[in-house]
């Protein structure tokens, strides 16, 4: 196990170095830079600014400077926002995380419950209806569901707020503030859950169907165990095993923000910030954020592997 971990960690470092170079050069190669989009500025002033920002240095030198600072924990100042990149992350990521963690949790719970039931009652009317509903939810674009819910629930019925994270101008604190945020996050969470629940339910359903047909389930039933024990102790546990690998992959998604959902619901998350910084070629922010996601992805896969080993000792690392 420990030799495996050391090996994995060395690989991870190599992967991240490779990824950082690739990402840096990709961004450097996209046409335009931070000053080129400003039509009002004279060419001389643009050249001066490129010099001040260090944008006129060779790409590789810029990469080395970035890497050196990053290793010292300095991810630079966002050019467009005029703030340290890490401060910006701290201001926006937690909002995205809040939406993601709640909707991921709901997605998993709903997917497991529905997946198990519809597998157990395969081809029943419940199974059919659920499958139709799930495919429908999966195939409708997020912006459509989002706007539809805003129109009906927020504008027409006025049950829920149309967007934002709290009532504008509100001075609520403590419990009142928590309630306000829950009120505001309901719609985006519902949409995110609707979109995510489909594929996961199908995944659990098919896993469960496979497991139910195994010999050990027949054995368990033959032993005279209650159906409940068979289903939840013997079948579900085995059906959940492959899903553990998915847990690790959810990690970057939890912090990455959702560009479309955040835009529709006016949610102050990192996804929107990232999109804007791409439009303005705010390199420090772009690099910082993409690398952050890269690190999470790599860590996520490691966690998956370790979890898989812990859950199923047959899997050797």
């Amino acid at each position: 196990m420990s030799t495996y971990l050391t090996k994995r960690l060395i690989y991870m470092v190599l992967i991240l170095i490779g990824a950082s170079m690739l990402i840096f050069f990709l961004y450097a190669l996209t046409p335009g830079d931070f000053v080129s989009g400003n039509l009002k500025m004279s060419a001389e002033r643009k050249a001066e600014l490129r010099d001040l920002y260090g944008l006129n240095k060779p790409v590789f030198e810029r990469y080395l400077i970035w890497m050196k600072n990053a290793l010292h924990g300095d991810f630079g100042y966002s050019l467009a926002q005029q703030k340290p990149v890490l401060t910006l992350f701290n201001e926006y990521i937690w909002n995205s995380f809040l939406l993601a963690i709640v909707s991921t949790f709901l997605t998993w719970v709903i997917a497991v419950v529905i997946g198990v039931i519809s597998a157990y009652k395969q081809y029943s009317w419940f199974d059919t209806i659920v499958m139709i509903f799930i495919f429908a939810a999966m195939s409708i674009p997020s912006f459509f569901i989002g706007l539809f819910l805003i129109k009906t629930l927020a504008v027409d019925l006025k049950w829920l707020p149309p967007g934002g994270m709290m009532t504008t101008g509100s001075n609520a604190t403590g419990w009142a503030y928590v309630k306000e945020v829950i009120h505001h996050m309901t719609l985006p969470v519902v949409v995110m859950t609707l979109l995510g629940v489909g594929s996961l339910t199908r995944y659990f359903r098919s896993n469960m169907i496979d497991v139910i047909q195994q010999d050990y389930i027949r054995t368990a039933r033959a032993k005279g165990l209650t159906e409940r024990t068979v289903l939840f102790r013997h079948a579900l546990r085995n059906a959940l095993l492959p899903a553990i690998t998915l847990v690790g992959f959810e990690l970057p998604g939890l912090f990455g923000g959702s560009i479309i959902i955040e835009k529709i619901f006016n949610w102050p998350g990192i996804g929107q910030l990232y999109m804007q910084s791409f439009g303005s070629r705010d390199y420090p922010l772009l690099m910082g954020f993409t690398m952050f996601i890269a690190v999470l992805t790599v860590i996520g896969t490691l966690i998956s592997d370790i979890l898989y080993h812990l859950a199923d000792p047959r899997v050797k690392l």
Partner: protein, 577 residues
């Protein structure tokens, strides 16, 4: 290693997806909000519908429909703003949205009236010497910053000085005013700027190297407190200002109360404002991206800007509690020719392509009347606007054909004109948006009718379009200008080499003449002549002035929109009924 490779791939793929999902950078001015998307209609429908368009303020029909949420706010007004980032120090901010915030926090020495003529604001008055090289600003005796400290000529001198620092990396170009000794200071050859003289605490004068009609507005902008922003200042060292962005000390109608990133900027009235404390105690800029209709309709926001399409106006009218104010933007859209290409060096060809384009269908009718046709490089709201002696280039395919025939472009066997074996093809580049789609569809047909082939290329990302533009690989490119305050802003691209391949000495001469005096009547005459020359030369096909409609709660009074300064000059005058 297999897993490792996989994770690397995931990173790359997600990166690529993000790249492709990128939408175009919005260049619309902040306070206008994001206009709702429009639906295309056929010409017939649109002409009947435009009759219901707005020409003047339409009062709310039923104020009782105002949602409870808005009624409960008795001392607060909420306006949407796309994306303030938190850098609230004027001159040191990169985003125009931060500019909207700081224009409530800081007043300018000089502002402009509704037709763009400079008038005093924070300065009580200003005089210009007879040789038009020395400007003297007289400050108010009792001016104060929001922290209660006095505002003096030293603060003005300090502000002008740091904008000459070699480390200044913002977008404000004070050097364009050519203050005497300014260059020397920037190069570190002088300790102070020679041309700036503090006469007494309320009087400051500045001498320029050459006469420049835009200098008054360039010099007369916001004033930073020397005591606050200058206590750590050393030449070549401005980084410390970044730490002060979040805690502005200003002199405007409002003070910053709280900034919640991505959500709100809260203001509270500044009791030290020189015009006295404003009537509405609290003001909030709410961060809203995209269509703000739902926030205006539910009363979460008191104001919204929309594209003035018939659909939008009808929808807004139905809400009942909104006052609707039509508004034409102070910028213009244009299609620029690449005059480094042999074909387009010929004025006749450029004129033919202007006559041959049905601009009314493309810009006015397909937008349900939310635009007016432009023919000169200045907004309709400007004092320099004229239609006298200006060719409107009304859609006239026959005239276009005749011009092309005369220029030697003869129709080939495939219907496309040729000259010396070269086909008349136009390579168009533009952004990826609905308006461009309409342009391409109509222009292709229009140009095919006069024997010209149009090839179009669209870019989802503004910077990519700029890069293509700079590479010179295009014939025609679509752009729009930022808000234009001085008429010289709208024509500078014709003289500074930005419009490549276009070189008319007459333009340069008139441009300089237009800046060589501060007398507006004299300037009017110069710009009129300049516009006539440009209109004849057709280096651009001028396209349109965008029309918006501003919708605000009927309970807000004192709404007076300055087309050059946006909302910021009007907000302090608002009252709540």
């Amino acid at each position: 290693m297999k897993k490792g490779l996989f994770s690397l791939l995931t990173v790359i793929i997600s990166g690529a997806l993000l790249l492709s999902a990128c939408s175009q950078q919005s260049s619309t001015p902040a306070a206008e909000g994001n206009a709702a998307s429009t639906t295309t209609t056929t010409t017939d429908q649109a002409t009947t519908e435009t009759s219901s368009g707005l020409t003047e303020l339409l009062k709310a029909t039923d104020i009782s429909k105002l949602p409870e949420l808005a009624q409960k706010r008795t001392d607060t007004v909420i306006v949407g703003l796309t994306d303030p980032s938190g850098a609230f120090t004027p001159y040191f901010q990169q985003s125009g949205y931060d500019g909207n915030v700081s224009s409530l926090l800081y007043s300018s020495l000089v502002t402009v009236d509704n037709s763009g003529v400079p008038i005093p604001d924070l300065a009580e008055s200003f005089d210009i010497s007879d040789d038009q090289l020395t400007y003297t600003f007289h400050l108010r005796k009792d001016s104060k910053f929001s922290d209660g400290s006095p505002l003096t000529a030293d603060d003005v001198a300090f502000t002008w000085t740091i904008l000459h620092d070699k480390a200044y990396d913002g977008g404000y170009d004070l050097l364009s005013a050519h203050i005497k000794g300014g260059e020397a200071y920037k190069e570190g050859k002088a300790k102070t700027i020679e041309g700036i003289k503090v006469i007494d605490p309320q009087t400051i004068s500045v001498t320029l190297d050459k006469v420049n009609a835009t200098a008054l507005l360039t010099l007369g902008s916001e004033v930073l407190s020397k005591a606050y922003y200058g206590k750590d200042y050393k030449f070549g060292q401005l980084d410390y200002i970044k730490n002060l962005h979040a805690t502005p000390v200003g002199n405007g109608p409002y003070k910053l109360e709280k900034f919640i990133p991505g959500q709100e900027v809260r203001f509270v009235a500044n009791e030290n404002y020189y015009k006295g404390k404003v009537k509405i105690e609290h003001f909030i800029y709410k961060t809203t991206e995209g269509d703000t209709f739902q926030f205006v309709e539910t009363g979460e926001q008191d104001f919204g800007g929309f594209q003035a399409t018939t659909d939008n106006i009808d929808r807004l009218k139905k809400i009942g509690f909104l006052n609707l104010q039509p508004y034409t933007a102070s910028n213009y859209g244009y299609l620029q020719f690449n005059m480094e290409h042999e074909t387009l060096k010929d004025k006749a060809v450029r004129q033919a392509l202007t006559y041959g384009l049905d601009r009314k269908t493309i810009y006015v009718d397909s937008n349900q009347g939310a635009a007016a046709i432009a023919n000169i490089p200045t907004p309709q709201s400007s004092w320099s606007y004229t239609e006298d002696g200006i060719n409107p280039y009304n859609y006239d395919p026959e005239k276009a054909k005749q011009l092309l025939d005369e220029a030697g472009w003869k129709e080939g066997s495939d219907g496309i004109r040729e000259k010396d074996g070269k086909k008349l093809k136009i390579h168009f580049i533009g952004s990826k948006k609905k308006g461009t789609d309409v342009f391409i569809a109509v222009a292709k047909e229009n140009y095919a009718a006069i024997g010209v082939q149009l090839e179009a290329e669209q870019f989802a990302d503004f910077n990519s379009q700029i890069a293509k533009f700079e590479s010179g690989d295009f014939d025609l490119v679509s752009f729009s200008t930022p808000i234009l305050t001085d008429p010289s802003d709208g024509v500078i691209s014709f003289v500074n080499g930005e419009v490549k391949g276009y070189n008319n000495p007459k333009i340069k001469e008139l441009y300089d003449k237009g800046l060589a005096t501060n007398d507006i009547e004299a300037r009017k005459a110069v710009y009129k002549e300049l516009y006539q020359v440009i209109n004849e030369d057709a280096p651009y096909i001028f396209t349109s002035y965008g029309k918006s409609v501003y919708a605000y709660n009927g309970r807000i009074e004192g709404f007076n929109l300055n087309p050059f300064r946006g909302l910021s000059t009007s907000i302090p005058e608002w009252t709540l009924k």
